[in-house]
């Protein structure tokens, strides 16, 4: 009795999407598409656009700086994503249970995300500074070695990648914890009761009730983490760059290459080609995860 015809149904759906899409299309989508198409051209930011076909892409594959940036970004993503998910989920589960001062702990976990990146980066650089930093001081006391033998966290020769991954997890876990917290609210409490009655302990309840129920949330968190990790830029810049805003080989990331190529090199076309490569990679990973979501949530 209430089966509506196909066309009006589509229209209603489109009407929901329209406000968001309209603003998005006009202000973001158009320039985005333009810049992606730029990858086939040469442009200095002003003046004429000159088409050069696939030349920018062939240049890319011989570009050792870009390749290194690509590798760095992939490694960074591979490390940051799982660690952040584990940390965020653990925090969320922990801070979802009955604890005294729960609000306080939740707020404290959110602090790092909220604070200005510029400021916390300065702090971390100091804390982990090789010779005089407190972290190395403490480590050297614990391990009984000289502080100069401790890892040079912030230098590119040292375990810089671990340093930045650690920093990212610290900074972002509060953010994803909040997402998980919201997701956890949607899990029906009765399911836990039923499982408890079946004799499942906390851990099994977590595995067989919680995890499946928050699958859509996990999918979202995974997606957003992967995308933002591939797009990372500010974190690397603030942690490693000197006053000239330059990064060295070991700490270079894709978006940094894009920015430098466009602004300092005045080579917008080439920068766009890099964006396309980034875009394609992320799209690929996204599609894989989409398949995973389909299999998992039905």
């Amino acid at each position: 009795m209430n089966k509506k015809a196909g066309a009006p149904k589509n229209l209603i759906a489109y009407s929901f999407i329209l406000p968001n899409f309209l603003g998005f299309a006009v202000f973001t989508l158009v320039p985005m598409v333009f810049s992606l198409v730029l990858s086939l051209a040469e442009w200095k930011g002003v003046g004429a656009v000159k088409f050069v076909g696939l030349e920018n892409f062939t240049r890319l594959f011989a570009d050792e700086a870009f390749m290194r940036a690509l590798v760095n970004t992939v490694v960074y993503t591979a490390l940051t994503v799982p660690l952040t998910i584990v940390a965020a989920l653990a925090l969320a589960v922990l801070l979802n249970s009955e604890i005294r001062g729960r609000n306080f702990f939740r707020t404290v976990s959110f602090f790092p995300y909220v604070a200005s990146l510029v400021a916390v980066a300065i702090v971390w650089r100091f804390l982990f500074s090789p010779a005089v930093g407190p972290v190395n001081m403490i480590l050297s006391n614990l391990l009984g070695k000289a502080s100069t033998d401790m890892p040079a966290w912030t230098s590119a020769t040292g375990p810089a990648m671990f340093f930045v991954v650690f920093f990212s997890v610290w900074k972002n876990m509060g953010y994803y914890m909040v997402i998980y917290l919201a997701g956890l609210q949607g899990v029906n409490a009765d399911l836990y009761e039923a499982a408890a009655l079946d004799g499942a302990n906390k851990w099994r309840q977590f595995r067989h009730v919680t995890l499946p129920q928050i699958a859509p949330t996990t999918f979202f968190v995974l997606m957003m983490l992967v995308i933002s990790s591939f797009k990372v830029y500010d974190i690397f810049l603030n942690l490693f760059a000197g006053g000239d805003n330059q990064l060295s080989n070991a700490t270079r990331v894709i978006v940094y290459q894009i920015y430098n190529t466009a602004f300092r090199g005045l080579d917008y076309g080439y920068a766009s080609a890099m964006s396309i490569v980034l875009f394609v990679i992320v799209l690929g990973v996204t599609l894989i995860q989409f398949r995973g979501e389909k299999k998992y949530s039905h």
């Binding site: 000239d244 805003n245 090199g265």
Partner: protein, 449 residues
């Protein structure tokens, strides 16, 4: 199929729109500005056909407005010369200033006068046709570019000049007299070779841990280390080819690092250890730094920020056989935007600021102007707080100043490589040879060698 066609059409359309728009150099619709103040009538406009008594507002792009002493002084000084002109400053911030300026101009910003912060950015602005060539104006007004000590020749592009310098800085050595006294070492002289400088630093380092005092300090900028190499005038950093000529200087600095004579690069970067703070806290005996620090040092002593009141400067160390007083330098210049709404007024402003009158105003704030005549320089050394000893006064005289970064259309790209390899060498990721080889390889590729 229809979808594909639609998509392609959208793509092509958007591209066409942008190609067309980007081609236009039309200025953007002006946002409502603050209304130009209507000043009192003036009676002194020079002989110009234009009605100069009409109020004009010049838009001037700058950085660090509140932290820099000379902007207001310039504005006040010019007000007396041309009361009908109101200067409106736009502070774009100092980090990434040239990138921001480039972006603003691309978006059609209506600046009249723009400050030029560095040469690579300048090259980019010229390459994208944003600056007005000044040669005709210079000829018509009879401006003597010889006053600028040869620096304007170093910034001409294909025979055309697009900026006039109003400020210059060059590198000297700052030293803490108290530390020298404490260690019983003679003060540095105005004629030191690199070897003598190195030996001096080694005599001064002492202390351990929290009490350590370093003999010298190299700030994290590549100019602090790399540019010793250009002092013999044989090379510029943009030559390409072999960079072996940088090796002796990297060796000297890295040896000093290894022997604990200077702070190591990684620590300096990660603690954001600023050369100023180290000097203020008496943690370093000497430092090679630019003359901009003179004004800051004087102020810091005055307002009690530091108790290093007993300091001095000497000329930059030089390679064997090179005249003392040869040093590196930079210029800060003013340019006029090609699309300036008030071009003539802008040109007149630039002429004044970069001329002797403007130079005196700049000097009065403790900043070294681009014109180095004796009476201008004596304003600096006569400033209250400037070291009283003769060596420091003499240190202000330069023999030859090499610009840190010569002008080159690919200066921006090359600088990226120079910075990257410098970082690798300094923090030990690459050996000196590997770093220099990479420099050569990558820069040659940019230059198309």
């Amino acid at each position: 199929m229809k979808k594909v066609i639609a998509l392609v059409t959208v793509l092509l359309l958007s591209l066409a729109v942008f190609a067309g728009c980007a081609n236009n150099q039309s200025s953007a619709p002006a946002e409502s500005q603050e209304p130009a103040a209507a000043p009192a009538e003036s009676e002194n406009p020079p002989a110009e056909e234009e009605a100069e008594a009409e109020p004009v507002t010049l838009k001037w792009s700058i950085w660090d407005l509140d932290q820099t002493a000379y902007y207001q002084a310039i504005i006040d000084g010019y007000k007396e010369v041309a009361p009908n002109v109101t200067i409106e400053t736009v502070d774009l911030g100092s980090s990434d200033y040239m990138n921001m300026l480039q972006t603003q101009l691309a978006g059609g910003a209506d600046f009249d006068v723009v400050t030029i912060k560095d040469i690579p950015g300048y090259a980019n602005l010229v390459a994208t046709d944003q600056l007005e060539p000044l040669d005709d104006f210079i000829a018509a007004e009879g401006i003597d570019t010889g006053l600028y000590g040869g620096t304007t020749e170093q910034v001409t592009v294909e025979g055309q000049l697009y900026q006039l310098p109003f400020r210059s800085d060059f590198w000297v050595v700052f030293y803490n007299k108290d530390i020298f006294d404490e260690m019983g070492v003679d003060y540095p002289t105005n004629d030191m070779t690199m070897a003598e400088y190195d030996a001096l630093a080694r005599k001064l380092v002492h202390g351990e841990g929290n009490d350590k005092v370093y003999g010298a300090h190299y700030h994290t900028w590549r100019s602090a280390v790399q540019l010793f190499g250009i002092l013999d005038g044989q090379h510029t950093v943009l030559d390409g080819g072999s960079y072996e000529w940088l090796k002796p200087y990297y060796e000297m600095v890295l040896n000093e690092q290894e022997d604990g004579v200077v702070m190591d690069y990684a620590t300096a970067v990660s603690t954001s250890s600023h050369y100023r703070d180290l000097f203020y806290n008496s943690k370093i005996a000497m430092m090679n730094m630019g003359t901009w620090q003179i004004g800051s040092q004087i102020m810091a002593v005055k307002n009690g920020e530091t108790d290093v009141a007993n300091w001095g400067i000497v000329k930059y160390p030089h390679p064997e056989g090179i005249e003392a007083g040869t040093t590196l330098g930079t210029i800060t210049g003013l340019a006029v935007s090609k699309n300036a709404p008030n071009k003539d007024a802008g040109l007149k402003f630039v002429e004044w600021v970069c001329g002797t009158e403007g130079a005196k105003v700049v000097a009065s704030t403790g900043t070294i102007p681009a014109i180095h005549t004796a009476d201008v320089m004596s304003v600096i050394s006569g400033t209250d707080g400037f070291p009283a000893d003769d060596n420091s006064k003499a240190a202000l005289e330069t023999a030859k100043v090499y610009l840190e970064m010569p002008l080159h259309p690919q200066a921006g790209e090359i600088e990226v490589v120079l910075n990257e390899e410098h970082t690798e060498i300094m923090n030990g990721s690459k050996s000196i040879d590997d770093g220099l080889a990479a420099m050569q390889r990558r820069i040659d590729e940019i230059l198309g060698n």
